[in-house]
Amino acid sequence: MPDGTFLDATELVLNMGPQHPSTHGVLRVILKLDGEKVIGTECVIGYLHRGVEKIAENRTYPQFAPYVDRMDYVAAVSNGLGYCLAVEKLLGVEVPPRAQAIRVILTELNRIASHLIWLGTHALDVGAITPLFYCMREREEILNIFEKYCGARLTTHAFRIGGLQYETYDTFESDVRAFCDMFLPKVDEYEELLTGNRIWIGRLRNVGILNAEDCKAYGVTGPLLRAAGVKWDLRKAQPYSGYEQYDFEIPTGTRGDSYDRYLVRIQEMRQSVRIIRQALDGLPGGPIMGKVPKVIKPPVGEVYVSIEAPKGELGYYIVSDGSTQPYRVRVRPPSFVNLQALDKMCRGALVADVVVVIGTIDIVLGEVDR
């Protein structure tokens, strides 16, 4: 007589990913289950590792700029902004106000695009297929603006160190304004589809709770932190690129669950539109490129600059040894840090909730693995 049959086994190990469609890329999660209940998770990452930080050591400063777009490819413009700001701080270069305003417009558009992807795929994971189509449709408009502005849709390489390479195109202002006018009713439409929907609430409410203390302990930033009720947004806390001129609110939640995060992100899209409109109204004239030497050779030193990317705090730590190539570039990607909290959020939840939790963190594996 054997000691126990499989029916007595209390712990079942289940592999999820890396080809699972709702892990948003190539994330592998090892789930330890007790029946339907998750008693532990373990993330295996690195399937998309390309060694971006190492590549930086063999590239000059301007040459590395296109590579950062490939980390968080959903929000490439924000990545580029962070990198450019870091090198500019290292060089001590002042960016002209016009360039700053255009940067703000493009990053906020990108924030909307990133949140749209998140909303669409998250809803798809939960079983609501329709929002995905609508989100992609609106995102298309943003990508068209990017394409017309800088010639690429996804990996834009829109900014250069010291300012911008391209002046806005003729219909830029009217295009962006038309997008803003068109977009706000569409957000209401997403809310009509989801906010009151009983299934949506049932799947998201009280799932993946992370309170403010846990968020701080794990270093979690972005919408997750704000949904836990902490009013922390780097655009307000340490304004960069002229964000101090704009009037906007930081939406926060109270419970810190998936549903609050959904509401926070929806509100953030509205706030982004508000910022874009203000930036367009006060768009200054003037040059778009600061006084940058032809050969970029920052002085010896190190710098850490962080910005509020759509997914949280995105930081660049650059060490310069005085040559044309960085000595070391370290990226603090928001997705990577936020992913740590997966285990905490999943413990005690059901298997189906794991998909919701992965979706609600809003990870991009290109950024997790770099």
């Binding site: 040459q63 700029a65 296109p66 990996t155 390479q165 391209y166 195109y169 439409e189 009509e192 989801l194």
Partner: protein, 151 residues
């Protein structure tokens, strides 16, 4: 009470269904019949590279300064040149551009002092072999050649 009625009549779900129903009209169809119907490509689009030639003389605009090759992060441009004994100027001989490694960042285009190298609106870059992705000077000047088959 109101809440119960909402629940019984599935009002929250009907609200969502009404949104999808509004989009039934044919004017909201977004499908693009791609090969038959060409997408509108923006003027600044960074696609297939082209080496511009002077339309009047038919000579290349490139002055073989090698700046594009130096600017490229991927080191995929190779500029071959020789010195013209008479004019003491550098003349372009070969130019290879490996589009399989190119990320279309536009740095080479920005670096070119005479606007000889340009990334065009052409986005159809598929080829049947890896060699086909390495464009030589003739291909860069005339555009990609259609593949010829034995049969």
């Amino acid at each position: 009470m109101l809440n119960l009625l909402r629940k019984i009549f599935l009002l929250d779900l009907i609200q969502g269904l009404w949104v999808t129903f509004r989009y039934q009209q044919p004017k909201y169809i977004y499908t693009e019949q791609y090969p038959a119907q060409r997408p509108k490509i923006a003027e600044r689009f960074r696609g297939a590279p082209r080496l511009n030639i002077n339309p009047e003389t038919g000579e290349t605009l490139c002055i073989a300064c090698n700046l594009c090759a130096l600017a490229c992060p991927e080191n995929l441009i190779v500029v071959g040149s020789e010195r013209d004994e008479k004019t003491k100027r550098k003349v372009l001989t070969t130019f290879t551009y490996d589009i399989s490694r190119c990320m279309f960042c536009g740095l080479c285009e920005d670096a070119c002092p005479v606007d000889a190298l340009e990334l065009t609106q052409d986005f159809e870059l598929a080829s049947y072999s890896r060699e086909g992705a390495i464009w030589d000077r003739q291909m860069l000047e005339e555009g990609p050649r259609p593949t010829k088959y034995a049969w």
